[in-house]
């Protein structure tokens, strides 16, 4: 409980400082909102030209798109701070984190609650709402509950990828660009039905990094697209996201033990 209250204090402090520059903040929210439309326009152009993708209409794909981008942008609020692990370790500044009487993961989570990220949440939310609206009667209350549950699992999973990236950065002292494949690339991949990827990749995204578990399988169940999995599985697989987060946290704690200060 103590950790939680510290976390909220950190978030409040971060919000207060951002609210000082309201104009700059609103520009940043707007900028972040605009930028992600280009990727959506790309999807729209492709569907305009080709019609369908592996038996999916655009409206159906937008459920995947919405889930992937909403969970990703939510996770950014909580775990972007872990990106600073590499520079903190390099400069030996991580000492300060270890000295404070609160869990380091909580401190890093509260590193910055960057409000401009709302722009991306808004963009993904609008696309998702448009997709759901055009699906009409196929949207049911239990279905929406499933989407929310998948969103929670997805956010947990993306938090996990950021924590993994940070843990590795603690070892390598520099953020490894290849992690972008998972972080930036994650929503980009998951926004389309996983059936378009070759089998080994699909298996990796089910069992290694549960990207399919938090986006694709719940979407299949939600859209009543049977065949690939029994429908109830769509309710189970988002759990993988939480498991992934737990493993990431354990890995981070393990790496943290090997931290050596620079002594300056």
């Amino acid at each position: 409980m103590h950790a939680l209250s510290v976390y909220f204090e950190l978030v409040k402090a971060s919000l207060r400082s951002q609210m000082r520059y309201k104009l700059s903040l609103s520009f940043n929210v707007f900028g972040y909102f605009v930028v992600f439309w280009s990727e959506f326009i790309a999807v729209w152009i492709l569907f305009g030209h080709f019609g369908t993708l592996a038996g999916w209409t655009m409206e159906e794909v937008l459920v995947c798109y919405g889930l992937a981008h909403l969970s990703y942008s939510a996770s950014e609020f909580f775990t972007r701070g872990f990106e600073f692990l590499a520079p903190l370790t390099r400069k030996g500044d991580y000492d300060r984190y270890l000295l404070r009487p609160v869990d380091t993961a909580v401190q890093l989570a509260g590193y910055e609650f960057a409000l401009h990220r709302l722009g991306r949440v808004l963009q993904a939310g609008i696309v998702m709402a448009y997709g759901l609206a055009s699906l009409g009667a196929r949207v049911t209350p239990p279905g929406l509950l499933l989407l929310f549950w998948a969103f929670l699992g997805g956010s947990a999973m993306f938090c996990g990828t950021f924590i993994f990236q940070g843990a590795v950065g603690m070892k390598t002292l520099q953020n490894i660009e290849a992690f972008n494949i998972l972080t930036n690339g994650g929503p980009e991949m998951a926004q389309f039905p996983m059936s378009i990827y070759p089998r080994p990749l699909r298996l990796a995204f089910t069992f290694l990094v549960p990207l399919a578990g938090v986006v694709y399988y719940p979407s299949l169940t939600f859209l009543h697209k049977g065949g690939e999995i029994p429908p109830f599985l769509g309710w189970v697989t988002p759990l993988g996201g939480f498991a992934f987060l737990a493993v990431a946290l354990l890995a981070f704690k393990q790496v943290e033990k090997s931290y050596i200060s620079t002594g300056s």
Binding site: F27, N28, G31, Y32, V34, V35, F36, W37, S38, E39, I41, A42, I45, L46, G48, H49, F50, G51, T52, L53, A54, G55, Q174, I176, E177, A178, N180, I181, G185, E188, M189, F192, I196, Y197, P198, L201
Partner: protein, 271 residues
């Protein structure tokens, strides 16, 4: 001119030190290339109609973009250079007997050429060796259209310069926007769409295609990529080169103008 050449060379030397980063970048680009390829292949699979490009030409087009990624004006936009106007370090640049625009432009060209000599080269080697080893040669990058090779070489030079001109233009917005963070992410969004990086321009619907044809951004990717894959008529090829050269001239002139206006009103806090 000798000064700018020296600036270009120092930038080249300092960036070539980071070889591991270049390899990591190359691997990342290859992964993203595969995602694009799987996606487009799936779209092709479902459609009946005739497509503007064959699948193998499309693969060449996609890979060309991934190989060129480090050269495009989408990477390295937010660097220590781009923040110099905000931090005030720009004042040191102004004390030197070189043009401010020329200074940044030469450095950016240096970065782009480094990317071409390290990241792009590593990627080509990886693509040529790794894909056959993994049994994925069918997704590979085809050989260039030999007939267009001289034009492609010329176009690539223009691509690098045009890309650097766009890049430096974004730097110059720093005189008015304090931080170039906003303009560089906006530039990223516009460029990745209208250069053809996200979706080949050939798939754009009529009106949007016209917009993309007029804008300078196809000159940094679509034009050389289509010269490489040979999906252009000779007339289109010459038109493409003219489009690149024209926009290069316009953007450099605009950049120089912005640099002048910016320096005239610049205030740097002492310290």
């Amino acid at each position: 001119m000798r000064i700018y050449w020296a600036l270009f060379k120092t930038e080249l030397q300092s960036h070539l030190q980071y070889r591991i980063a270049a390899v990591a970048g190359a691997v990342t680009n290859i992964a993203f290339g595969f995602f694009r390829i799987f996606l487009l292949t799936a779209f092709y699979g479902a459609s009946q109609g005739k497509q503007p490009m064959s699948l193998s030409d499309l693969y060449s087009y996609v890979w060309f973009g991934q190989v060129l990624f480090g050269v495009l004006p989408v990477t390295g936009m937010l660097s220590s250079d781009s923040e110099e106007i905000r931090t005030g370090d720009v004042a040191y640049r102004l004390t030197r007997p070189v043009s401010l625009y020329g200074f940044y432009f030469a450095r950016v060209v240096g970065q782009k050429v480094t990317a071409l000599c390290s990241r792009s080269l590593i990627q080509v080697v990886l693509l040529l060796t790794l894909l056959p080893l993994l049994g994925l040669s069918r997704y590979g990058m085809g050989s260039p259209a030999w007939g267009f090779l001289p034009l492609l070489a010329l176009s690539l030079v223009l691509t690098i310069l045009l890309s650097a001109a766009i890049h430096t233009f974004v730097y110059m917005t720093g005189f008015w926007t304090v931080s170039t963070r906003g303009s560089s992410s906006l530039a990223y969004a516009v460029i990745s769409l209208f250069s053809g990086l996200l979706v080949p321009l050939a798939f754009f619907p009529g009106g949007l295609r016209t917009v993309a044809d007029v804008l300078p951004f196809r000159g940094v990717y679509d034009t050389p990529a289509r010269l490489y894959s040979g999906t252009m008529s000779p007339a289109e090829a010459l038109g493409g080169l003219g489009h690149q050269a024209l926009w290069l001239a316009v953007l450099v002139a605009l950049g120089v103008f912005l640099a002048r206006r910016g320096t005239a009103k610049l205030e740097v806090a002492g310290g």
